[in-house]
Subunit: 259 residues, 2 copies
DNA sequence: CCATGCGTACCGCTGAGTGGGACGGTGGCC
DNA sequence: GGCCACCGTCCCACTCAGCGGTACGCATGG
């Protein structure tokens, strides 16, 4: 069997993780053979693993196919990084949406990417490239840059070393300019995304800090380029992020706080 | 090692599931020894499993302790039963919250319990016994009874056979009265919870149907007994549930639709 | 009517997983 | 201050859980 793609040792758990990771936003159901193909497992192995995963509730039988099970949703809702932040942030996010009449995002950093923890959309919202539980490269998003600006140097280094992948013509892909922008964000406490993650989408973002003074995530106001004046939104986002940080017990000293 | 507690065979996956299930709403971080104790695994086994789970992102290292990882949140957000329903329901839930100025719940049936998929709270909301991703016995909640009323007979039987556990003095714990109430709900399309899940908490709920005509979940308006007039809320909840069902492609025939 | 691909089932081999045990560090109670 | 209980970590020999090649019955469709 081909195991070369897994760096370490292909343990049962790694195989099971590969099975679950075979599903995606547009891949909600898979048959056994398709599962085996995507994971590189033998068909009989995929069959047995799927059966076992169904028995523990991580997969659900859908006819002869299989899909992610509710137990995973339940577990996911218990993830503390997400839960504590979302719970504390929700009221402020709703205020922010009402005040700005724009989409509001809450995200955390996971490795070198941001994961969206909550999204409040406005009624007439155009489609956005973000999804709750979805990932985007940190350097190509407003919240990502806000978080990176207040993260330890090795985190920024990891992001740069992994390659500043281009997502649009405006994505910052050079280390130098990115570092300079992060310095500016540290001064102003505000980060902008000017069509850097998706064409036509702009946002203003600000970092959220925890009780230990370290950055926990980012808050942003997002909208279409032709409708949203990011500079006008900046004070509102920053205020919401500061208020949220204060409620989380963050030691906010001056205008801009660094870790 | 003690494996008698697991019915089938204690596969690696079952052990890993036990490790993850050791965490809960109030148990966000665990040490290795505590983990071993709660799962009944040998300490060295718990240690190795935890290490492997960390490597695949299902757990996170928190100092020497360990907690659920962001990867589980990401996976959980992909669960189709939850995602499709929540996405379609959100706008209607917001309308419902605004119209009734009360907490709005969306839940699905998982086995014999309901799992809350989304909760919209009002500003001054008193604490509720519900949590997104949390479980409650189906027979003791408004949404649960709404779903049971339109579920196949064997589902209702399973719920009754598992025991109608009492949660408050008002919980329906006798099979006969429960069956009669479900019949009433089938007629009216409305289900009530009068302090049956928690003292002081009442709700009005209605079932949500999918394109195949089967019940997908339940929608409810919830509040404190002294402030919420459930009968006055009933038409709003039922309307929202019907509108949502129609958008989901449900074949709604008459005033009340059954599967 | 055969080719193809599906889900399912069986079964012998083997190395991944197991857990007992040991070890060093640490915190608190006496 | 010194004892002790408990912690996380690591090692290692045994064994059975997991693996995948193989085969079968069944749709589908060309």
């Amino acid at each position: 069997m081909r195991t070369a793609e897994w760096d370490g040792g292909p343990s049962v758990l790694a195989r099971a993780a590969a099975v679950l990771d075979a599903f995606g936003a547009d891949t909600t159901e898979l048959g056994i053979s398709e599962l085996a193909r995507r994971t590189g497992l033998a068909k009989s192995t995929a069959h047995r693993l799927a059966g076992e995963l169904v028995r523990i509730g991580w997969l659900e039988q859908a006819g002869t196919k299989v899909r992610l099970g509710m137990h995973l949703f339940e577990l996911g809702q218990l993830v503390p990084r997400q839960r504590a932040l979302r719970e504390a942030a929700l009221p402020f996010m709703e205020d922010l949406r009402e005040a700005t009449n724009s989409n509001v995002h809450l995200a955390v950093l996971e490795g070198i990417e941001v994961v969206y923890v909550e999204i409040l959309r406005v009624r007439d919202s155009q489609p956005l490239p973000s999804r709750v539980g979805g990932r985007l490269p940190a350097h190509a998003t407003g919240v990502g840059k806000a978080i990176l600006a207040f993260s330890p140097a090795d985190v920024v280094k990891a992001r740069i070393d992994a390659g500043l992948t281009r997502r649009t013509a405006y994505t910052v892909i050079m280390p130098g300019p990115l570092m300079r922008e992060l310095a500016t964000i540290r001064e102003s406490g505000i980060s902008y995304d000017r069509q850097e993650s998706a064409m036509g989408v702009v946002c203003a973002a600000a970092p959220v800090f925890g009780a230990d003074g370290r950055v926990l995530g980012g808050l942003s106001v997002t909208g279409r380029a032709e409708r949203l004046d990011t500079e006008r939104m900046a004070p509102a986002v920053r205020t919401a992020a500061l208020t949220l940080s204060r409620q989380l017990g963050a030691p906010l000293r001056r205008a801009s706080t660094r870790s």
